[in-house]
């Protein structure tokens, strides 16, 4: 399938502070792509370059075949944008606001259809100022959808939501698949990326530190089990494992393939040293932890990370 977005060697320098340090991306038509990373990692800078709100310092960017730094009106017709922070005139009703935005496009969808699609039908004639935060976010999506876009950008669509509002938003975003939209979203929640997206790129400190499907990222995690027990004495083990002591625990990080061998080494060492390995356990970090670890790695040793 064709690519909706391609990015090569993208950099953005804010007068000495390099927010984006050379990233490559390709987002396929029809997929939901999550751009995952902590605050300040460069997510919003990147997405705003793709949206045409900022210009890149260097690198190649193509969004639906166009360089968004010089966006023609016809290109804007095909793009829907939900900004991180953006309000709508509180004096209007959702129906009025969507109607106002429909006039901005040459081939808009039907106003009532879009309001229905985001689940605001029973609030369509209330003042926007009286809607809840979640309902206002639905309206944001309705305004992004009214032009019948091929590609939608969602910048942190659920930040600040309570769990039930998040779930509802997830359903709504998942529905975008059915109308054939390509979606690029940013988030700092691993579970959100996992729940919604076909593919994920993890960004930390302006660089992409991992990419793949949620399952592929998960495998990276499972490949790194940790053995730990209570104690202060650090055993001498072979070179293929990392051993460290912290807060009264000894932790040994290994790989799935080496696991059995390493456990034997530890138990041999314990027998020799008469250590009873209290609280001995093997843990595999969940996705959230992998994500955190990837980010730490991104900050610590940016030159060695996989991409």
């Amino acid at each position: 399938m064709a690519d909706a977005i391609t990015v090569e060697g993208l950099r953005k320098d804010y007068g000495g502070f390099e927010a984006v340090k050379g990233i490559d991306l390709s987002i396929r038509e029809g997929e939901i792509f999550a751009f995952l990373g902590p605050n300040g990692a460069g997510k919003t800078t990147t997405i705003e370059i793709l949206e045409g709100f900022r210009t890149a310092t260097s690198g190649q960017v193509r969004v639906l075949g166009v360089d968004p730094a010089h966006p023609p009106l016809a290109w804007r017709e095909k793009i829907g944008i939900v900004l991180q922070q953006s309000q709508v005139e509180k004096e209007l009703t959702p129906r009025e606001a969507v109607t106002m935005f429909a006039a901005y496009y040459q081939g808009p969808r039907l106003v009532d259809e879009v309001i229905e699609l985001v689940g605001l039908a029973d609030k369509a004639n209330d003042r926007i100022g009286k809607l809840s935060g979640g309902q206002q976010r639905r309206l944001d999506l309705a305004l992004a959808l009214i032009g019948d876009p091929k590609l939608i950008f969602l910048d942190e669509p659920t930040t600040g939501f309570d769990p039930s509002a998040r779930r509802e938003s997830w359903e709504m975003i998942d529905n975008l698949r059915s109308i054939g939209c390509t979606v690029m979203l940013t988030t700092h929640y691993m579970d959100e990326a996992q729940q919604l997206s076909d593919r994920i790129a993890v960004i930390a400190d302006g660089r992409i530190v991992a990419r793949g499907t949620a399952a592929e990222l998960g495998q990276q995690v499972q490949a790194r089990p940790t053995i730990s027990w209570r104690g202060a004495t650090v055993p001498t083990l072979s070179d293929r494992v990392a051993v460290r002591a912290d807060e009264g625990h000894v932790r040994v990080e290994t790989t799935e393939d080496d696991l059995v061998g390493v456990v034997r080494e530890i138990t041999d060492w314990a027998t020799d040293h008469d250590d009873s390995l209290h609280g001995f356990e093997i843990t595999r970090p969940d996705l959230e932890q992998t994500y955190l670890r990837l980010i730490e790695a991104g900050f610590a040793s940016p030159d060695e990370v996989a991409s």
Partner: protein, 257 residues
């Protein structure tokens, strides 16, 4: 949609938003009318020339009308546009295929519609309650003053947003600009005894010239058809400056982004 129907839609919704905003409606529509009534009550409305029944209010009406026009255009646009910029409303619009100039023209036209409604209200109230007479020969000058004045002060309102960094600063900066100028621009006080430097400061800025042009339009003692070219020229020059600043410095995204 053609740009004309987009423009019509934008003006319609901007007027709807204005009507539903009680603070904007009060300060733009009600407040100038209250001032008109107050000034006439405080300073009286004596007949100063009995043959044609010309009254003192004839000299307040141009000042109040000037204030109403500036509220509807400069003040209104400076505050609303700053709010919209800081709330991300402008940025969202910028992300659509709506042509920026059509959107901005929509805001300007909505302000001008409000200014025209205010003009009618001030003239009708002046006439009905205070016997203020607008001579037929003053109408061309009034119309030209309205066109030049509303357009120029809209441009200045948009230009002013380029130095307003936040929603909180919007009313402070806007009032700090216009309030002192009202006092030196014959809006509230018309006196022959104004110190020369005050009068000089007033002359530099466009408000006094707008009021001056309106004053000549309403002046019952003028002979022939008034055509205050000098006043219009100063107002239009400031308007051109406003267009220039807006065209080069206007921001669509929040100040600190």
């Amino acid at each position: 949609m053609t740009w004309t129907s987009q423009l019509r839609s934008q003006v319609k919704f901007d007027l709807l938003i204005f009507r539903r905003n009680p603070a904007a409606t009060f300060f733009t529509v009600i407040f100038p009318l209250i001032l008109l009534v107050l000034m006439t009550s405080i300073f009286g409305n004596q007949v100063i020339e009995s043959r044609n029944d010309i009254r003192v209010a004839n000299f307040y009406v141009p000042g109040i009308l000037g204030l109403a026009l500036i509220s509807a255009t400069l003040v209104n646009l400076a505050m609303n546009t700053t709010n919209r910029r800081e709330e991300g409303i402008l940025k969202r619009v910028r992300g659509t295929p709506m042509r920026p100039w059509v959107f901005v023209t929509g805001q300007v036209l909505a302000s001008i519609v409000i200014a025209l409604v205010m003009t009618l209200l001030v003239i009708v109230i002046g006439r009905v309650f205070f016997d203020v007479s607008l001579q037929t020969r003053g109408i061309p000058a009034l119309v030209i003053s309205l066109v030049v004045g509303t357009a120029s002060f809209c441009a200045l309102g948009l230009a002013l947003t380029t130095i307003i960094p936040s929603i909180n600063a919007a009313s402070a900066i806007t009032n700090a600009v216009v309030l002192p100028l009202y006092f030196v621009s014959d809006v509230f006080v018309i006196s022959d005894g104004t110190p020369r430097f005050i009068s000089f400061i007033g002359d530099l800025f466009p408000i006094k010239h707008l009021v001056g042009a309106l004053f000549e339009s309403f002046d019952p003692f003028t002979v022939g058809t008034p055509m205050p070219w000098g006043h219009w020229a100063v107002v239009a020059a400031w308007g051109a400056f406003g267009v220039l600043v807006t065209a080069t410095k206007f921001r669509w995204t929040p100040w600190d982004s």
